[in-house]
Symmetry: C2
Subunit: 198 residues, 2 copies
């Protein structure tokens, strides 16, 4: 087997969800791409890894010290939505429904994986709240065991700020979900929190 | 959204089977990798795209003019196994059962996709046979409609070489396949070509 092919397959296999077979398929695709397109791709990966920063305020990925969302004076600066990861910011932004700011924790508390509260950007969140101006913190954390642990820990920290409204995103049956396949805890929650149809 | 992140997600989405969501997941993984590991990965991609050659004899991927298999004097140079693509060579090599040489066609004849016999390395195969020394050609082409077309075309070209043995890999039920899920054509073929148990 060609050393060059062996190398590229080995390197691509380092990516999550990419086994030897997929890596080989990717390599063969790369071979069919224009050399300039491949060079542009590898340059963008190198630039991304070398130059990307974390926003000093919200910990979102950013090209500058402060991310475009935090810098945007048009947004509602009194509301902060706390999420686990960068991908969650993008998911919420894609709805075009939320005009407040964000705070990216960078994960959830997980004793199993050795992630303690101090490994997350919780102090940074408290600093932001202590500076004043924030009226509501929306907790948009996943409902896993680790997520719930993180939620409880955040509550214990945030309830010290008087006048701060703390909310959590609604839990229930997702649109398009079939009841048959929804877990019992979600159904129980959805039943208990039923709403009168107006 | 960060321009650097946007760029890398856009570039990674060019890869087959990688959508925006997967590209984002890959980007976040790249961010967790050591900068040197990322640089090594992109360097190996660039090297692969820039320096890889096709073996002048068998059309397999190669670092040199002639691939290691064709250059290996220990291998049986009288037997050539004809395959569609580079990945097939690796699959057969992984069995450690085959000691002959290969010939990579670079695809199958497909009028639908505009792939004519002249787009494949069939003339190169005929040249190799014409040079003498090859006693058997094993056709290891897939059983798709395009594969069968390619097989018939190859037969029409190869039968002109007197004394050349032309064989095809055995068709049948794969090990571990459940009969229930095997298509009828394969079962019919497997029944017609049944073997007496010795």
């Amino acid at each position: 087997m060609s050393k060059l092919l062996q190398d590229v397959v080995g390197e691509l296999s380092l990516l999550p969800g990419v086994g030897k077979r997929t890596a080989l398929r990717l390599a063969m695709h790369i071979l069919r791409m224009e050399p300039e397109a491949v060079a542009e791709m590898t340059r963008s990966i190198d630039r991304f890894r070398g130059q990307i920063k974390y926003c000093a305020r919200c910990n979102n990925l950013s090209d500058e010290e402060v991310c475009p969302i935090c810098a945007d004076q048009e947004r509602d600066r009194a509301t902060v939505c706390v999420v686990e990861q960068v991908a969650d910011v993008l998911s919420i932004e894609n709805t075009h429904q939320y005009k407040g700011l964000y705070h990216v924790l960078g994960g959830v508390i997980s004793p199993m994986q050795g992630i303690a509260p101090s490994d997350l950007k919780i102090d940074l969140l408290c600093d932001r709240i202590a500076q004043g101006g924030i009226k509501e913190v929306i907790l948009a954390i996943s409902t896993s065991v680790e997520g719930e642990t993180t939620l409880f820990y955040l509550m214990s920290r945030l309830r010290h700020y008087s006048g701060l409204k703390i909310t959590s995103i609604a839990r229930g049956i997702g649109f398009g979900d079939e009841l048959e396949y929804v877990d019992e805890l979600t159904i129980t929650h959805a039943l208990l929190n039923r709403r009168e149809i107006e």
